[in-house]
Symmetry: C2
Subunit: 150 residues, 2 copies
């Protein structure tokens, strides 16, 4: 498996993963709107954001997982960056085989190599399976996550 920043050519596959809740979405069926083009270009151009894709290089290179990492400068933690992880996905037909662990472990190693003092993420309170998964990776469920839709 290979973890690398997504390129524009991966955008349909990433959007398919983000739309995939229960079953595989065909990247060819995804409409890449101008707004998604802009958002992806913003991520790609920003040195503190990256959309990472997990690629099965033994099977022709399909994207089977993704996450977005944001590296946030701050005045806590002795002035070190923290990494925020969002949009963690493994393709529906590839779950349960350890790919999520591989994706997250590599993203954490990447944050550590960059000098981050902390990795943080939030997970919907209903997703108890995901909570066990993050706890098994060493994450502490120490906070409540609040969202306000504008």
């Amino acid at each position: 498996m290979l973890l690398r920043p997504a390129t524009r050519a991966d955008l349909p596959a990433v959007l398919a993963l983000l739309a995939d809740e229960e079953r595989v979405v065909d990247p060819a069926s995804v409409t890449v709107t101008a707004a998604y083009e802009r958002a992806f270009a913003d991520i790609e151009a920003d040195p503190r954001n990256e959309m990472l894709v997990l690629v099965d290089d033994s099977a022709g290179g399909p994207v089977v997982g993704c996450l977005q990492a944001t590296y946030i400068p701050g005045l806590g933690k002795g002035g070190a960056e923290r990494a925020l992880i969002e949009a963690v996905r493994i393709r529906a037909d590839r779950r349960g085989g350890g790919l999520g662990r591989e994706l997250m472990s590599r993203a954490v190693a990447r944050a550590r190599a960059r000098g981050c003092a902390l990795v943080q993420l939030t997970s919907n309170k209903s997703r108890t399976d995901a909570h066990r998964f993050y706890a098994s990776l060493g994450f502490a469920r120490s906070h409540d996550g609040f969202k306000l839709t504008l």
Copy 2:
């Protein structure tokens, strides 16, 4: 009250607020290390990060509150940015008078004006007073927040 991005001259006051858990810390007593200088310069130079300070312009301009906002591009929410808020502080001797509400309301308005689709934050599970405060501002406590110290 005035809300504005912090300048380098505000850095001792902001570090004093961040060190202030229960009682006021004198900005003159704060050591501004090279690491904090760098971190603040990183925030100030990044168009997707800002350290906002709440200033009492009727009382000689002291900084009485702060928060950091990070504007995150993403492929959810139709490609709109989301705002992450961290490091929310009101100076210990000015709490209980509505300044926290003013600080947060203005930061939310700022995110809305920028076109953000969502504002999000996390709060330690022990801080039930803060949870009531965020709920009263319309935030939904929908997620659990996970942290991994590196």
